[in-house]
Symmetry: D2
Subunit: 293 residues, 4 copies
């Protein structure tokens, strides 16, 4: 098949690199063209525009920052919606709102294009190492066609249903669950530290107790109080919690933990943590306990 990949940030580069290893041709496009050069050296074709990238492809993958970026790439002039052939498939890896996922499904269907939402769990190194968890949802026929490609970019593919937004709801709730770990460490560390004890020991015990790389890694980030450079920016973390709350609002589900996370992300922005990693939301509990760093 003729594949196209749009959005070569660190996540996109890793995913596209794995698609390049399949028996398909790959065209890539990024707003700043040089981001695609490493892939070009390995055989990808560099396109000059979205239109060029998708007007003759079978499947286009996108990995973009947020709803606005997706709207621009899909619905902008000479964008995917206007340029992708009928019968082709758009696979969206971005963490977007359920509303945007519904809009993409509806608008692309109206053009005879298929839409598959396939957000992923994992950091850039996991993307590169083909260790992502892929959660996909959409029309069954389209899912069957892209299934081998999704299997090629992660360690496990989950099919969440026929409605593309279902995959996004899972992604948003998964990120909520990770963010909760940041807050729980933040609150516990504040206690341990104010008791004059070693919070690194507490982290070591919790790492053993939970036996989870997420507790080990994110716990170490919060314990070490080192949040720059940002791997996943604080503002994007806030965005995901906000989108999760919006989805929950529509479903009429109270989410008290998510509400606290939202407040703590806002407190983090208000306290100058804008350029830090989202794990720095774990600092807020310490600040509120009067700890100065």
């Amino acid at each position: 098949m003729k594949l196209t990949f749009i959005g070569l940030g660190r996540m996109g580069l890793g995913i596209a690199g794995n698609l390049l290893k399949t028996d398909n041709t790959l065209t890539v496009f990024n707003r700043t063209r040089e981001k695609g050069e490493p892939l070009a050296k390995e055989g990808a074709k560099l396109a000059d525009s979205i239109h060029d990238a998708v007007s003759d492809c079978d499947v286009v993958f996108t990995m973009l920052a947020d709803d606005n970026a997706v709207a621009h790439v899909v619905f902008g002039e000479a964008g995917i919606a206007a340029s992708l052939p009928a019968g082709a498939i758009h696979v969206s890896h971005s963490t977007i709102s359920v509303q945007m996922a519904r809009k993409l499904a509806k608008e692309q269907a109206a053009r005879g294009q298929a839409f598959v939402s396939a957000p992923v769990f994992g950091r850039p190194d996991a993307a590169e190492a083909k260790r992502l968890l892929v959660v996909a949802a959409g029309d069954q026929a389209a899912l069957e066609r892209v299934r081998p490609l999704l299997d090629a970019i992660g360690r496990q593919t989950y099919i969440a249903g026929a409605e593309p937004w279902h995959a996004n709801l899972i992604k948003l709730n998964g990120n909520f669950m990770i963010a909760c770990v940041l807050e729980t460490f933040g609150e516990a560390f504040a206690n341990i530290r104010k008791a004059g004890m070693d919070h690194h020991l507490f982290h070591e015990i919790m790492s053993e107790l939970f036996g989870s790389p997420i507790y080990k890694g994110y716990g170490a980030a919060v314990a070490g109080n080192k949040f720059e450079p940002a791997g996943f920016a604080l503002r994007l973390g806030l965005k995901d919690i906000r989108l999760g709350l919006e989805a929950a609002g529509e479903l009429e589900v109270p989410m008290p933990f998510a509400s606290i996370l939202r407040d703590h992300f806002l407190a983090a922005l208000a306290n100058g943590q804008e350029n830090m990693d989202w794990s720095s939301v774990g600092k807020i509990a310490a600040l509120q306990a009067g700890l100065k760093d």
Copy 2:
């Protein structure tokens, strides 16, 4: 050494069983004598009273339900404080308040007895299988003497410091972190279910994402909505969160997640879940979202 074990609930039985495998003699005592019979068959001596059990021992271990039970066994008539020889050591495995730990340390020191607080992480099956995590704190000399015994009952022993209550603060915060997992699953499941999706699939994805037996096991408990018989009673879960909040109050640490957990444990009691496992606190988010089961 001559060892004594008091408190043969399911946790105590498992721990005492492992102490029996060491090169020491073991006397056991339980309010209801028959609980000790399985250990007697393997060589333990059954004592008729706390006084008999501890008046000639080197180390007495206790594993009891709460502060009141510990106060009764230690400070009651002919209890440990009155009967344990000077120079002997009391190792407390119970999940008690930091205030009670301080009181035990002070009162036993006044009698020439050493006090080591050594709460454990793990369910009864882990106790039996010598898979507990043991967190110990207290006088260094006493810790050195009991260290081999602690190593005999768990897979890892952590030394938390010279103040016995430090170990309890770690235990309370650890239980807080586990309880947070129950709530996070509760909130996320409520979303997934109200969207008409399969929350067991969400649990499967989270189990893989977190790679943690706690997420796998507790998530399955909440997903399955089956909370009886109770392994760890709801009221004991509330007790631990309450004790954690009391300790945090003394340390002047706000704990918004813990406050929500407290409210949800109270809501669970108020909604008839008293005889359920503490993991049933994960039901409350569903109830608040209008889901009837």
Copy 3:
């Protein structure tokens, strides 16, 4: 001056009635024409379309349900933006988002129209009795022209500044403060009732202590557990809290009380209270405490 009033719900009727008593001509328009007939009997002219109503007026007042209704009336075909003469003023009484207020200001300015945001505090009976509190913001010259008209519809006019959205921020925060009273009564009543005591007595004491008609009136509503028919619908209450949280998010202000209110409004919807008054959010604390009514 030639005045026009659009949106003859219960609030709008009361306000328009007071404008009719000034020395100005009044044209009214409502989607369902018969709503305007009581005013027609007192001398108002009934218009057949928005265009007819505003194409020759000096000041148009609108009192509509939410952002969508305002967008439709202002930006819809032959709406206010397209039909109001340059130099005329649009006074918006609706409780809308700060974003919508900014959009109205910008878009109307581009057409040479002035925009004054003037949300009001008070129930329909207060509107009729000219007892509203009016909070107005916008261009100073426009404010000066409409000031006598605003004074004619309320007991006090406050000037909040030159940016129209400032008035809306005050309105949203004011409604937040009222909603908090509902929740505080809800939590306190749940305690009093579960203690087997008379919560009406508690309400009586609080009415005397606070000396406030809001505590007296809203407290009586929650105490009486009678929320139908709805004076101000639950979903509109949720909307206002949601808009307040959105504004706070943009300003980077955590609002833990508002977050709880949002969760409790959602719980109220999820528990079948959709057709009740917004004061029924005060029921949720009782429900969570296991009280069945």
Copy 4:
């Protein structure tokens, strides 16, 4: 009747002063004797000990800081319990826990003494001006005997029931409701200020909207950011919220607003506000929003 008053802080002085105006004799006692001298000048007798003060009286009133102070005065050596004649009445005005109220009722009944709990709402100036609200509960016969005395110290007496602790539950929930006003102003002011607007204007509008001296007075305190000297100390405010939460815990009532207040009182202590008035809890929302003063 022969009356005795113990606890001559600012509240106690005001109340005792009004009792002195009744047709009864008044003996007063305070740990620091000179506090009683203004009353002595007006005819009160100064006692040298609790025993002297109560061993020949009909009714003893106490107004003390907290549970510990009450326990000391009542159950300490030669305290009220030991010295008050059988048949006499103890009227407790202190804001104490419901547990302590139950203990007082039980222990004094065992000695043939009657116990009436009669906490009051109002600041010291209201005590002096006989403007308190008095909430009384206890044995009906005792209530009837002291009713004229309670009417003599306040503007309104409410009878809360036969169980003394019922009055304390009302007092604790009333203080919770006042503290909520502090937080609501704190959150709203943070929004108004970060929008670059005048939060004093917002306070003025809210004062008019609520029409309550509590909104006017406490709102001005938070708006003015001036919290010293403390009229009612922050730590006492925390104590009342904590006692309210304990009572709610026993009654199995979740109180999310109270939980947030508890966290914010702790944050206030942790941020150096120990010597400020309890209204300074309203600063915390501003701090969390990144406002430095």
